[in-house]
Symmetry: D2
């Protein structure tokens, strides 16, 4: 079993409710707690790179994500990310990590914050970690129980789901 690097960038996945302000905000990532809940025994190292809403993500932020993936010793990488611009970040990553390369990068996220009762986050994390272990090198999205090649997917904003194109 190879080790997996998890690069945390924020997104709905990690948002919390701030009870003093009544607003959604970021504190620490929930990844360690989620892996504990899932009784995960996968060898992972978690790297919290940024904690931002993916609508606020800039080109400079994406360059840092590419850099974090390039610098990782692991060949299997999961990137947690907001769903709104996940496809765009996947495209940026694909320019550096080709299908005939040596890294499998899987982006995932959630439609509902993990901290709220009805989140898809734990399901998606189980899915992304699994796909990262068996898919060949390349850049993928793992959402809705499926995996998508970075250049054959779009987010359907009416249904809140990802579709193959």
């Amino acid at each position: 079993m190879a080790a997996i690097r998890i690069v945390v960038t924020g997104g709905t996945f990690d948002k919390e409710y701030n009870e003093l302000t009544g607003a959604l905000a970021f504190k620490a990532t929930h990844l360690p707690e989620m892996l504990r809940l899932g009784r995960s025994r996968v060898d992972v190292s978690i790297h919290t790179l940024m904690m931002i809403d993916s609508l606020d993500m800039t080109d400079a932020d994406r360059a840092r994500i590419v850099e974090a993936c390039a610098g990782a010793a692991e060949s299997q990488i999961v990137v947690t990310h907001g769903t709104d611009t996940m496809v765009e970040t996947a495209r940026t990553l694909a320019a550096s990590f080709p299908r005939d390369g040596n890294k499998t990068i899987v982006l995932t996220g959630a439609m509902v914050p993990y901290a709220f009762g009805s989140s898809d986050g734990l399901f998606n994390l189980g899915s992304a970690i699994s796909f990262a272990q068996v898919l060949p090198p390349g850049v993928y999205l793992a959402m809705n129980g499926r995996f998508f090649q970075w250049d054959h997917v779009r987010k359907n904003r009416e249904t809140g789901t990802f579709e193959a194109v």
Copy 2:
């Protein structure tokens, strides 16, 4: 995207607390609710074959599971199962579904019932559904975020986790 058949056999996964008797018991499977929570868009058909504790599973029960997998039109199958004898059922299945066959069968389960707050069930389901889509034909276990070949795994009863052997 190929369709997946989910064969439900019970196990901790689907146990519930009966508030009148104070005992753990089976009612209906939680699979549809779990797939809805995970916002799964995988094409699945759920077949509730039995709802039993895997310690109570007989050879006749295992024969019915083999039969259910053989009769499934889908080539990707997830079997939900109690963890105590999951390895034994995997071995029985492997006699009928070889690595050079045409079916990928992934057994999964949970250490804590899905209906209870701290369950690993949703994580494991996301994992099992993902592995079923990409692993080559053969019989596998998906637990603890990992996949195991049926003949290289054992349950460690002290830690409650599965290990490669």
Copy 3:
């Protein structure tokens, strides 16, 4: 056991996460579900008067709450309300429902939406319904496991708790 009227006005209590917009919003009240979870056998009638953030509550809205309480056949009333202006609405109600009157009105709310995992809502509802059954006529707040006379309470915005003054 006398019957209790529950007047719903919205507030954090009933906010939900809209997964398509990523914003907090109101849909239907969670009161029936909460009473079911609490296995409540209190005879209640739920009246959804409005579903608003208490920071948006106007004098006209408060007049409608007074009217709803005055028109209720029940002498015990629980009003669910946002915490930010709960004290102000209590003061308005007190002008119409004096301590030597015939109605016991208890306002309650939540710091975290019921729909999220870590809500105080169920605790507060159990508390408010209980206080409404035994406190003498007058207007009260039930928060933090305590009850407060309407004219001896303030919300501490730094701690997010209510204090006697």
Copy 4:
């Protein structure tokens, strides 16, 4: 605001799922966590007297509960207790704590363990703590959002609810 003594005796309230054995069992009480979740600001002291199923409670155990209540400096006491013999323990307590005495004792419990998703525990705790603050001296049960005099209540085992008799 007077202080409340909470005497913990176990019961369904505090049962947990042991994932290694698959059985329900007691570990530590959930009371502190529940009070934190409820954002309780009531001054309480928690005394874990025993952690047992109320069907296993002996006369000696009940004598210890009486003793714990008698020895408490607080005049308001909440006793957490299994529902099966809650009425019997209330009767025992009533022999020592009469209606013209100086202690208000409220027994409460849960139909579903707090650790499981669908528990009535938090609702009942909010209710019991509230009743303890306002009811006159005597021994009561707080269940289903209601309070009952110890000598006018029975558990209906078919519905799993408490009824006035």
